[in-house]
């Protein structure tokens, strides 16, 4: 596979005013039946996408599937229960009689207390049948944890790809209300003891004894304050090569340097990362992250194919935008021929704590069109 044959080589991404222009014209073009899937969290950004989409006119249904997830009785997120309730009320108020609101609770823990959120959310949307009434499905990941939206999107892509084989061309969009300052202020708390491979990508296949001799490559997309996660994922993956991905260009031009300073001891003294393995990708362009990851993986795969190939673990530890790049690369490589075994390693957390309430609410809406009309041959 070459660069030319990457599925999302040509991509569709709009932000800010471009977001408004696109959706306004898209809705004006024809009647659109839209299902918006969004998480019910405490982050006020969860309402941004719906509010904006409803304000941009157009005909057709604007239904909402509201994903509710309970992070357990000890979750620090309960501190913000009032905000969460307010967000739920705001969604109802915004939606009014413009569409149906459907609550979709996700089982986060098994009877033994094991985390099964990723598997549950993939099962929640079991088949493409429930999307039959819609022309467009929009997944708003602004208030969804990574452990839910990555498997959800993988499942959606798989369902929509099957649909396309059957001649359907339903559109799949992802929107996110992006704010680096807010992201930095919301920190994960109560990390799980160990990392796991997310359901929806290669998980068991990565741990297979039969392929244990294949070299393992780990590409962590680095963000701030992720040292415990890095340590735990490293322990899970036990990689032979590590290729950290740094944001560059980034809003803060020294972001990459800051990350190197923060992780110097771990990356260079403990894990002995080769500086030449570092990958750079634009902070706010998930498709650029996707391309850089794809290039690196394909390079390793080609170089190591005489020895039986390689296995790859990706970890999204940065912004939600960058994590979409991880998703796309992992999904594409796992569904192509020849297949590359790519998993997404992740550490779940008990919940979130807002470190500073004084963060200015300066957000930018991004929309990514992942599947459907615009990619039709």
């Amino acid at each position: 596979m070459t660069h030319d044959t990457m599925r999302w080589r040509d991509y569709f991404l709009r932000e800010g005013a471009g977001f408004d222009d696109f959706w306004r014209s898209f809705f004006a073009e024809q009647r659109r039946e839209v299902l918006l899937v969004l998480g019910h969290g405490f982050d006020a950004r969860m309402c941004d996408g719906l509010e904006k989409l409803l304000s941009l006119g157009g005909e057709g249904a604007r239904d909402v599937a509201l994903i509710a997830f309970d992070e357990g009785p000890q979750s620090p997120s309960h501190t913000y229960a009032d905000q969460r309730r307010a967000n739920g009320a705001r969604i109802k108020e915004l939606l009014g009689d413009r569409g149906k609101l459907n609550n979709r609770p996700i089982t986060m823990f098994s009877g033994e207390g094991r985390r099964i959120g990723a598997r549950s959310i993939a099962q929640e949307f079991a088949s493409a049948n429930e999307f039959q009434p819609y022309t467009d499905v929009v997944i708003d990941i602004s208030a969804l944890p990574r452990g839910l939206y990555l498997p959800l999107l993988a499942k959606m892509l798989a369902l929509f790809d099957l649909d396309q084989k059957d001649g359907e061309a339903r559109n799949l969009h992802v929107v996110v209300s992006h704010s680096p300052a807010t992201d930095a202020a919301i920190v994960e708390e109560g990390l799980e003891d160990g990392a796991t491979y997310l359901h929806g990508f290669a998980a068991a296949a990565l741990e297979s004894e039969a392929t244990s001799a294949q070299p393992k490559i780990w590409i962590p997309v680095l963000g701030k304050c992720q040292q415990p996660q890095l340590e735990r994922i490293h322990s899970l993956v036990a990689p032979d090569e590590i290729c950290p991905l740094l944001p560059s260009p980034a809003q803060d031009p020294r972001e990459g340097d800051s990350l190197m300073v923060e992780y110097r001891d771990l990356l260079f003294d403990q894990l002995r990362v080769e500086p030449r393995n570092i990958i750079y990708a634009a902070e706010s362009n998930p498709f650029e992250v996707y391309r850089q990851i794809m290039r690196s993986i394909l390079h390793y795969h080609r170089a190591l194919s005489p020895l039986g190939g390689c296995k790859v673990a990706l970890s999204a530890m940065s912004s939600k935008l960058a994590s979409i790049g991880v998703l796309l690369a992992a999904y594409e490589l796992s569904h192509r021929d020849p297949k590359v075994t790519v998993g997404v390693a992740h550490v779940e957390s008990q919940g979130y704590r807002v470190e500073s309430n004084s963060v200015a609410r300066s957000t930018t809406l991004f929309t990514m069109w992942l599947s459907g009309e615009c990619y039709a041959a």
Partner: protein
């Protein structure tokens, strides 16, 4: 191997590239903890906190590592290790004498438990996956042990049918390649079932009723070039705690029921509030098995300090090798200064001595019964530091005597002999601690205390020793003296708390509450320790909860009715999982049997506590149940002046 600037940072077996480096860095002291018949066929449980060295120990017995060891047996770095393994029967003069197959239970097995399968099917698939992995490991082990190549030489292996056994999908006799393909297919089938985004029910392999791999290994059905492979097998399961409860029960049941002739080692994290269920559940009743709790074994055999200091020296040597012959730090111990009797401390010691001596003499002036004790102190030889400690010890003893006298109304003069009797090492240790608090002398320095700060955990020791070594490395690079003074050591070790414990809320479930609970224990211990008469010399470093209360903390029905107790159980679980409390269960006391929970020694500097074990206070659940939420509030009786 890539260049290693600070080899102390290679804290896990997984982070070391080559078998040769693994062996060079391996401290053979842990082998002292194994029973002599560890390879005799009895199941062996190895338990410790994370970082206790379980995985390294299991890795040592894998064929490639043992082969490397035999090749390096003449080397100074590995000679002793080789001899120990020879004594255990793992190697002979020229050959491997045990075929090790190492399985990590954290890989794939937990995910299998998360699929919505019927229990019987889930069990069959679990056993099939274990079978497939053991057989793949066994094929590899046989070839590597004979210095053959895997998988190229699999055709030289022949497997015959085990008596009275049918292995679904496998036709005997067959060669190694066919068996490998069979095992890979079984594993692939289970893995596909786990990874599929579609409904798993009804797809995938049928699974196995029992562990067929053990029967195959026991029956000696494997031939290499037509000759039976008769080397005994060692199958090790690492990270057993990662299995779901049903999986663990199933595995233990088959390991026990089948009474395999192969030796099975099961390594798991010690969770004091749950692990004992494993033995009391009946799963192992009637079966002879061995259990080693690494922390307890280190403590009982008093082997931790020499073991970790050997590890430290090996790492320092590796750094010296990596940086070239000009580098001064060929060993770790010489860089760590352990003496406060140096000229740098003379002035401060002299002025402290003046203060303490003055205080004691003032008390004695009005109480003539202490006159002989004072004379004894005056006449004592020794360095300034020794004199200072002696005077402070006498001050504690006078305080003790004064309190007792108030009760006993004894007024007789005290003799020099009585002083000698009372001047025990515990009181001297308390005196040292009090001096450090009062006059700012460093207390946490020197090799012995550094080893103690490891809390019987090799990884923790490597972290703190690595912090010290980092400083020496930096000094050497800048052509400065790489030796670390006691106060510099203490400053670096003080920072270890911040690095490892302070961010517990982020790192761990219930971390915020656990941190508050640990802080409460720390404050409580400090109050108990720093009383003028040092009643629990050298100090209190833990609390004890009755085993009955521990049972309450495990009682699911009770926890449902009592959220506070449930929260405390969760917090204790977190503290134990993260090795922040060191449990010593089932300890007999006059009031019954107790579980002592010692603070991890890394917390001791924060609360100015000694590093010795043995000092603890009994607490009832109702005394501590509010500590995770409200922190420590001393009761009236505990509010004694410091």
């Amino acid at each position: 191997m890539k260049d290693v600037r600070n080899p102390f940072r290679l804290q896990t077996a997984e982070s070391i590239d080559s078998d040769a480096d693994f062996l060079r860095l391996f401290g053979h002291g842990v082998l002292d903890l194994l029973p002599k018949d560890a390879l005799s066929g009895r199941p062996l449980f190895i338990r410790s906190a994370p970082g206790g060295g379980k995985t390294s120990l299991l890795k040592l017995f894998t064929p490639s590592v043992l082969q490397s060891l035999i090749a390096m047996r003449g080397s100074d770095a590995t000679k002793e290790l080789y001899n120990r393994l020879k004594d255990l029967g793992a190697v002979t003069d020229h050959d491997i004498n045990v075929l090790g197959v190492m399985l990590s239970c954290s890989r794939t097995f937990p995910a299998l438990a998360d699929i919505d399968l019927k229990p019987q099917r889930a069990r069959r698939l679990l056993l099939a996956l274990i079978d497939a992995r053991i057989i793949l490991g066994a094929l590899r082990a046989v070839l590597l042990a004979r210095r053959l190549r895997f998988p190229d030489d699999l055709v030289r292996l022949t497997l015959t049918a085990p008596p009275d056994e049918h292995i679904p999908g496998l036709r005997f006799p067959c060669d190694g390649t066919s068996v490998k393909r069979w095992a890979e297919d079984v594993e692939q089938g289970v893995c596909d079932l786990i990874d599929t985004l579609l409904s798993p029910e009804g797809s995938g392999p049928s699974g196995h009723d029992s562990l067929l791999a053990f029967r195959l290994l026991d029956a000696k059905c494997i031939q290499l070039d037509g000759r039976l492979v008769e080397t005994p097998w060692l199958v090790t399961f690492d990270d057993m705690q990662k299995l779901a409860a049903t999986q663990r029960a199933a595995l233990l049941e088959v390991v026990v029921e089948q009474r395999s002739r192969s030796t099975v080692w099961l390594a798991e994290r010690f969770e004091a509030l749950s692990t004992d269920e494993l033995l009391s559940s009946g799963a192992l009743s009637g079966r002879d098995c061995l259990v080693i709790a690494l922390e307890k074994a280190w403590q009982e055999k008093r082997r931790f300090e020499p073991a970790v200091l050997l590890i430290a020296d090996r790492r320092a040597r590796m750094a010296a090798d990596a940086t070239g012959a000009n580098f001064a730090l060929g060993a770790f111990a010489p860089t760590i200064e352990a003496d406060l009797d140096t000229p740098a401390w003379q002035d401060r010691t002299a002025s402290a001595l003046e203060v303490v001596r003055g205080r004691v003499q003032a008390v004695a002036a009005s109480k003539p019964q202490y006159a002989e004790w004072i004379q004894s102190c005056d006449a004592a030889d020794g360095t300034l530091r020794q004199q200072l400690v002696r005077w402070r010890t006498v001050e504690i003893l006078i305080e003790r005597h004064a309190r007792k006298r108030q009760l006993a109304l004894g007024l007789g003069a005290l003799t020099r002999e009585e002083l000698e009797d009372r001047d025990e090492s515990d009181v001297r240790a308390a005196a040292e601690l009090f001096l450090s608090k009062e006059f700012g002398f460093p207390y946490y320095f020197g090799l012995s205390r550094l080893a103690s700060l490891g809390s019987f955990n090799v990884e923790q020791f490597l972290r703190v020793a690595g912090d010290l070594f980092e400083e020496s490395l930096a000094a050497a690079v800048m052509r400065r003296d790489p030796h670390l003074s006691p106060d510099r050591q203490q400053k670096i070790l003080d920072g270890a708390y911040d690095a490892r414990v302070k961010d517990l809320p982020r790192r761990a479930q219930n971390g915020r509450e656990a941190l508050r609970f640990l802080d409460a224990i720390g404050q409580f211990c400090r109050e108990e320790t720093h009383q003028p008469n040092a009643p629990y010399a050298p100090g209190v470093t833990g609390i004890a909860i009755s085993m009955q209360d521990c049972a309450t903390l495990r009682n699911a029905d009770h926890l449902k009715l009592s959220p506070d107790t449930a929260a405390l159980a969760g917090v204790l679980g977190t503290a134990l999982q993260h090795n922040l409390l060191l449990p010593d269960p089932d300890r007999p006391r006059p009031a019954g049997r107790f579980m002592v929970l010692y603070l991890n020694r890394l917390l001791c500097p924060k609360y100015q506590l000694p590093l010795q074990y043995g000092g603890f206070r009994e607490k009832r659940l109702q005394d501590v149940v509010t500590w995770p939420t409200h922190g420590y509030r001393p009761s009236r009786s505990e509010r004694l002046p410091l």
